[in-house]
Amino acid sequence: MTGTLATAAVVPGCTTDRATVPGPQEGPSAVPQPGVQVPEATGAATRFLNPDQYELLEAMAARLIPGDEDDPGAVQAGVVDYIDRLLATHEGYPQRTYTMGPFARGYEGDEEPPAEPGIVWVPADELDRYGWQAGQTPRELYRMGLARFQELVAARHGGASFVELSEDEQDALIEAIEDDEDDDVGEIFDPIPAGTFFELVHKHVVEGFLADPMYGGNRDMIGWRLIGFPGAQRAYSPEEMVDPDFSRPPQSLAMLPMLHGAHRGDTTALGSVRRRHPNGPID
């Protein structure tokens, strides 16, 4: 069984070499568990990100959840590969999103700006209550955001690129886009809010660190091991619910045994689990 799982979990596509970017890591150090198959660090071709984007995003991820061989973090977990795969589909919309305009724009002060077609003016300090209102697709936000972030880095550090800076300098830049309060940040990022870009990257890094490994991140279940989450399990007992010393090695969805040992489509081994209804709707 493990054999099939391994193939399913490997990141497909190794046609070209991401030459200018070093492999994301020199192999995670967390001890591989027997039966656990994770995508290898292949240096495989990316699907959406170009080498420069990949490198910059990986350097950002390295600050968001730092790590090294002994205590792996976002880079070791392969979160940038996760993001790259995510952006390769559906304009990068991984979740249900309503995309019809007009789109909201915040304004400061008491006076609402004159009406403009395609824009709904909202007091800037109320905008947060309305949630995601970006008019750009996630792909556009990544393309524009990464380029503008690099512009900000260059403007503040005499043309340097992000990867050349010290960790403290890198952190200060990420803080600047998260807070989105400085004039230069606003000017460089306009019209996309720097905070929106930060939130998107942050959210995807967290997802890539903690989602099931089949999505390309959380390599070797690094994220789950860090926080103590056993992953996909069929059952816990009432005794285990209250056991203060309980622990179980994590398991990915691909490692979760089929229910009642049945193969897909085999409905004879179901026990009490209801069959697909014979008169059920066709779909």
């Binding site: 959840i65 979740q95 309503y98 209801r274």
Partner: protein, 597 residues
Amino acid sequence: MIEHPEVDVVTVGAGWTAGIAAQQLTAQGLTVVSIEKGRAQWTWPDFAHNHDELRFTARHELMHEIERETWTWRPNDRMPSLPMRQYGAFHPGSNVGGAGVHWSAVMWRFLPTDFDYLSHHTERYGRDLLPDGHSNQDWPVGYDELEPHFTQFEVDTGMSGQTGNLNGEILEGGNPYEGPRSRPYPLPPLAPTRAGLRFAEAAEALGYTPFVQPSSILSEGYTDMSGEPRAGCVYCGFCTRYGCHVDAKSSALTAHIPMALDTGRYEIRTRCYVTRIPVDDTGLATGIEYLGPDGREHFQPARTVLVSGYTMSNVRLLMLSTSDAHPDGIGNARGQLGRNATHQIWQQPTIGRFDGERFNTYMGNTSTSHAIYDFAGDVFDHSGLGFIGGGQLFADAGERLPIGTVEGIPTAQGEGAETADGEPREWGQAFKDRIRHWDSYIPITMQAESPAYEFNRFDLDPTYTDFLGRPLLRITFDWTDNERRMYAFIAERAMEIMDRMQPTARVDNPEIEPYNVVDYQSTHIQGGAIMGTDPSNSVTNRYGQVWDAPNVVVTGAALFPQNPGANPTATVNALMYHTLEAMREQNYFRAPGELLS
């Protein structure tokens, strides 16, 4: 327009209430068709292998298709409305079984005083305590009348809990404030969690009465009304936003819908989107129009239409069904449609972190946590408090999945950088170190009431449309000072309980979070097509029949005049049973007309 042969009843969607109706009506020999926008789904094989947080929780796999039809929101009529572009405050369902598949299955009966709400409060406190601009009113049905239906539903599907009040006798271990039950829960409560027990110990020391929450999840094997045995809960922790892989969580898929299909008189048409309820010259419905998966328009004639597509869909469909007989939509001749939109407070007044302890929070589900009801509804004296309404408190530490829960863990003093707003940064080495405590924190969550106000309502948005170019439903809703005070009072009680629990680090939220559509706030949106005693105060009568079109029957929480601080479905489904009983007893289908009270 493709026209289908006439049936007795057509339902909007195949969710919880439609499934119940289909089972009972087909058992009487009637024909029923459900028009469901989502796809087919069954315990086997669809839920057998679904333990995937990214797909189901983060990406909302089982939820309504907001990319096609969402809702707009604004806090008040001075602010613009904007669409909910991605999921946030609420998560309505799609697919066969509706939201009643990915629900949590916490199962409260509302309190007796939740029904005679206005008269009870006026009698006890006078009119002064009722907030400015409120539009609360009494339900046209009371607890006693619904009691047999609560009980029947519990027996039909199986339910777990500790009885607190049996025919007026208060029993140890249960909720002492619940209305009298005519029989105990069919099954004992679900197994408790470590965090729940920790909370219960502290609450008890303060004189409160904690108990494990009642649940529509089976705690042991049970043979439900279908005659099929179902397994008890296996506490896998993939519960809310998932279909149950062992069938322990009750839904319309576990008994009602399969039984209805077995009769051969029930059909579900999936991937069919209901667009309109057409009417005849007298204003009675003639059936349902829908967009089929073939991209064509269909008409399903029926003698009765069940508007059972969940609160917002129901209200919008009535509004969009304009005609000469109903120029402003069905049920809107007197401007009642859209009134009394309510939501619920679902926030965490306090979160404690207990370094060095692990609580196995990824096991179980919401209902395996202890709760207290000492500050729910009107079980405590509100004199001099300056607000009406209450809420329950519970230890929110079951079925925890990582992606959505690594942020917000309490920080110890000086532990990491802060944002410009003074919040801990959720990244960097400090964040990484903090999430090592991911299984060591316990939030105390408050689920609390949402009284009704004249200014909180649903209508059609003037700007934004669905994928067919028809206006979206607009929600105008915000908290008032009444809810701010209610929250602050109950939050203080929660913080006192947390004091007793002695966390090593904590975050307190003594003030209510401004209403927003970003933070999940429960999928208990209610009102908009409320039931009442006469056409001047409501859209429907006590059976959900629209006053001016009695063969249009609204189901679900759109009927609730205001929103008690408890999960709604026990009452939603008891009301469905109540209506179906009246239809049966009064031979409604001989000549569909208004049911007598």
